[in-house]
Amino acid sequence: MTTERKGKGTIFLRKEFCKGCAYCIETCPTHCLEFSEEFNEKGYHFPVLARPEKCTGCDICGMFCPDFAIFGITWKKMDKLQAQKNEGGKVESRS
């Protein structure tokens, strides 16, 4: 399930963690996030990458998110991680 790479990066979202606070949406420097129409289980609107072409993967959204729901990453870093993984290198989860 790969997707088109429109911008320099993308976001990950744990929708069910989101409490709809709008921190990410309001602080994204490129204004590429918007609230979903949809509610999550708890009844909150969550962000969607409305303008993926503008996402730089800077993870400012991620730094702001008080609920650890969103996380931005550049394709470059993604590829590096993917490569590491393909080489069998374990992605350290305890630093």
């Binding site: 409490k19 289980e41 708890k42 009844g43």
Partner: protein, 186 residues
Amino acid sequence: MAKYEIKIGGLGGQGVILSGIIIGRAAAIYDGKYATMTQSFGPEARGSAASSELVIDTEPVGYPYVVNQNILVVMARGAYKEYGPRLVDGGMLLYEKDLVPIDEEDLKRRKIRYFGIPATAFAEELGRRIVLNIVMMGFFAAVAGVVSPESMEKAVLASVPKGTEKLNLSAFQKGLEYGRNLLDNK
């Protein structure tokens, strides 16, 4: 029914506690019954479920919590999920129609009477989403048969902040009428 054991569930901020107070006040102060309201609150519930419980009886209430939950009022899906299963067979469910998807089959099987109202929409019509719970209370007054609508109305007036009486009365009326119509048409 001499004894009502009522649970009101919703999300924090929906006025679940105030709803309990209104019903309790109506019963205890204006309807001459005994009413005990308890509330579950606390940090673990932050930003999620909120609930209040009422025991209404013609004699003094001993055990203060709901045991045979025979009426459930829910304003959020989570609350329905959590408290729905605890409704006793033959009990009654009041729910916010647009927010709470119900399982009619299950309810029917358990012989539970259920009544929905688009309270949020009504509240929004009145311009203040926040009066959703008062709409619910009007609905409750019409449908539940626990306390008289007159007492409920008095209790609403006694419980809402000064200056908001008119708005809240409209909300209450809205719910009451909707409820009455619903009953008439059933």
